[in-house]
């Protein structure tokens, strides 16, 4: 697989700033940031799945889609911001070890795909939501968007977890990961 090349000067610049050094050298900073990252991701995936399941027609079918979105999406976005901040901190601290890892890049590919899926849904399908918001069959495009969203976020979680194993593959059963 041809992975993106990151110039060595950029890697050096990012990994040598004091915040990166601190996260790398501290005994607790990385685990704390990583734990918050996992909490944020579980809330992000958990809340977005509630909307996706409603779009597909599996759960919450007695409630309007806009009501469910109002309840959940602010938490999804809040969790995304926390996951992005904690993720950036971890990536910054050890970027030179992540750059050669395929899972690291694949996670971003699937996140990008999830964003495209969301934009298509928001900008095109969702415009007619008044016609199918409640007590009504959801259009096929919305069902496809919900199913795609669940599939893509599942891949984001899988490749996110896999980063730890490809980095430390030699010590899968003894290592800290």
């Amino acid at each position: 697989m041809n992975l993106p090349q990151v110039p060595q000067e950029w890697l050096d610049a990012l990994t040598s700033i004091p915040t990166s050094q601190f996260i790398r050298e501290s005994s607790w900073a990385f685990p704390v940031i990583e734990s918050i990252h996992v909490v944020a991701i579980s809330l992000l995936v958990g809340t977005i799945t509630i909307v996706d399941l409603r779009l597909i027609g599996i759960a919450s079918n007695n409630r309007a889609i806009t009501q469910i979105s109002r309840d959940t999406l602010k938490w999804t976005w809040g969790a995304f911001v926390i996951a992005a901040i904690t993720g950036s901190l971890m990536a910054m601290a050890k970027l030179d070890t992540y750059v050669p890892v395929p899972s690291f890049w694949l996670k971003f590919v699937f996140m990008f795909a999830a964003a495209v899926n969301m934009l298509i849904f928001e900008l095109i399908t969702f415009r007619s939501v008044r016609q199918w918001d409640a007590d009504c069959k959801v259009p096929l495009a919305a069902k496809v968007a919900g199913t795609t969203s669940i599939a893509l976020w599942t891949m984001v979680v899988i490749f996110g977890r896999w980063i730890g194993y490809t980095v430390n593959f030699g010590s899968v059963f003894g290592g800290g990961f």
């Binding site: 685990p31 990583e34 734990s35 918050i36 996992v38 909490v39 991701i41 579980s42 809330l43 992000l44 995936v45 958990g46 809340t47 799945t49 509630i50 759960a59 919450s60 007695n62 409630r63 009501q67 309840d71 959940t72 938490w75 599942t154 979680v157 899988i158 977890r161 896999w162 194993y165 899968v172 059963f173 800290g176 990961f177």
Partner: protein, 166 residues
């Protein structure tokens, strides 16, 4: 516990899992997805009790919508968690973060079962009296904090193990 963990590690079940190098990462991925389902569902019930979501629905109907997903998420997390324990007994069982996580999990599930049983007995117990409502809200905040702590301690198992071994 170290004796038991070593005995389990030598057992044929553990030995065969240890040879499948992919099984722990795969179990962890499914474990995280199951926990996401559980966390999203628990958050929604607790937010409803705190009047921060789904106010056009009763607490009872919100609970009916999400409680099954909490239990199913828990069952999947339990199975994938057991796979990890059998594959790496010493890593998990000789580990303060693991036992902290299990203790909080036990309390959280007791709280959930208690909440569920009150809904069966009297569907409006949390909604009719002011004291019932404020108790429910205290427990809702506590529940969110405990689930967050369970996730944090779960991730911490990977790091606490090193301290125990030293």
């Amino acid at each position: 516990m170290i004796e038991f963990a070593n005995w389990l590690a030598d057992s044929s079940a553990s030995q065969s899992l240890q040879q499948m190098y992919w099984i722990v990462p795969v179990a962890q991925c499914i474990h995280i997805l199951a926990i996401s389902t559980l966390m999203g569902s628990a958050l929604m019930i607790n937010l409803r009790i705190l009047n921060m979501a789904g106010r056009e629905q009763t607490v009872t109907s919100t609970a009916r919508r999400f409680i099954p997903w909490i239990w199913w998420g828990f069952v999947v997390a339990l199975v994938t968690g057991l796979v990890q324990i059998v594959a790496e007994p010493v890593r998990d069982l000789v580990n303060l973060a693991f036992w902290g996580k299990m203790s909080l999990l036990f309390i959280s599930l007791l709280l959930l079962a208690f909440f569920q049983s009150t809904l069966v007995r009297s569907v409006a117990i949390w909604e009719e009296t002011p004291s019932g409502r404020s108790w429910a809200q205290v427990l809702a905040v506590l529940s969110i904090l405990m689930w967050v702590a369970i996730v944090i301690l779960g991730r911490w198992i990977a790091y606490a193990q090193i301290e125990v071994n030293q």
